[in-house]
């Protein structure tokens, strides 16, 4: 988390991705996000391919071929587009929305994204991840710790690199 990013976005909650949990019943992945200035967490359900992409980035795994989010990163590197930050901006009916802030030669642009794509890109480009105060207040998953702990021992520990 850089100081410049923090000072521009003081009202945002800084987050880090703690882990990716496999929900084998529904073939989805659960992304566990932790406040970097606290230990509170919240969780987002994402599709299996997006979740696996986030996990590869967490593990710093380099696939033999560029996967979809590696390709986005590669475009950015070729054109000098940097990912400044990713912000979870809204939640409606348990669906989260995100915005990716980009910069090139001083020109900032923002694009709408699903949180999964936004986070997958943020981890690859070492960009900070935030949630708005509003999203943080309305987050889900505050009481899932026990349930996640149960999943963790079974699914996650075996996948540590």
């Amino acid at each position: 988390m850089t100081n410049t990013a923090q000072s521009n976005v003081q009202d945002l909650i800084p987050l880090s991705v703690s882990r990716v949990v496999e929900d084998t019943n529904t073939d989805t992945r659960i992304i566990v996000l932790t406040r970097t200035d606290d230990s509170d967490t919240f969780t987002i359900w994402v599709g299996a391919p997006e979740g696996d992409s986030i996990r590869r980035a967490l593990d710093s795994a380099t696939p033999p071929r560029p996967m979809s989010h590696d390709l986005v990163k590669s475009f950015g590197e070729h054109f000098g587009i940097t990912t400044k930050r990713v912000v979870l901006t809204d939640v409606k009916s348990s669906t989260y929305y995100a915005t990716v802030f980009l910069e090139n030669k001083g020109v900032e642009r923002s694009i709408d994204a699903r949180p999964s794509d936004a986070i997958a890109l943020a981890l690859r480009t070492h960009a900070p991840i935030y949630a708005t105060q509003d999203v943080w207040k309305r987050r889900s998953g505050q009481h899932l710790d026990a349930w996640l702990a149960k999943l963790d021992t079974k699914d996650i520990d075996t996948q540590e690199v």
Binding site: R65, H78, L102, R109, A113, R114
Partner: protein
């Protein structure tokens, strides 16, 4: 030399539990079957059918990323075939310069369709992949093979 290809369709391959993107040239003389995973097939299928998903999917996001700075996809080339793995390049124009970026064919095709960019294949790739292989494979398929999916 390169040959322009069209996406003729997507087929399910029950043997490999994967999908096949079928590319054909204009004369329908040549065919390239490219095996892709389920999510990649879905990304191509949504674009082919012009389905606008309620939320931007990964390749829509990829296109937004390029659109944000007016980077244009000029073309996509299936550039190599090595041990049954295809390789592709995405050719882009950005601020008067041309770039070629390595990609999997599935990402390249999903992006090309969304960008209305032509898809090409290197003739060397077409030569390597004679369409015989697929035809042979199709001939060997029996109705029973499809039935196995339900059991």
């Amino acid at each position: 030399m390169i040959t322009q290809m069209q996406v003729k369709g997507l087929m399910f391959d029950p043997y490999n539990n994967a999908y096949i993107v079928v590319l054909r040239d204009e004369d329908e003389a040549e065919m390239l079957p490219i095996w892709v995973g389920k999510s990649e097939a879905s990304a191509i299928s949504l674009a082919l059918e012009h389905v606008a998903p309620p939320r931007p999917m990964t390749h829509d996001f990829m296109k937004s990323f390029l659109d944000a700075y007016n980077a244009k996809v000029i073309s996509v080339v299936i550039s190599d075939l090595n041990e049954h793995t295809y390789f592709a390049k995405v050719h882009l124009m950005y601020e008067d310069s041309e770039y070629a970026v390595d990609s999997r064919p599935s990402d390249a095709i999903a992006l090309a369709i969304r960008s209305e960019a032509p898809i090409f294949a290197n003739d060397s790739v077409i030569r390597k992949q004679s369409s015989e292989e697929l035809e042979q494979w199709l001939e060997n398929l029996k109705p029973d093979d499809f039935g196995k999916l339900d059991s």
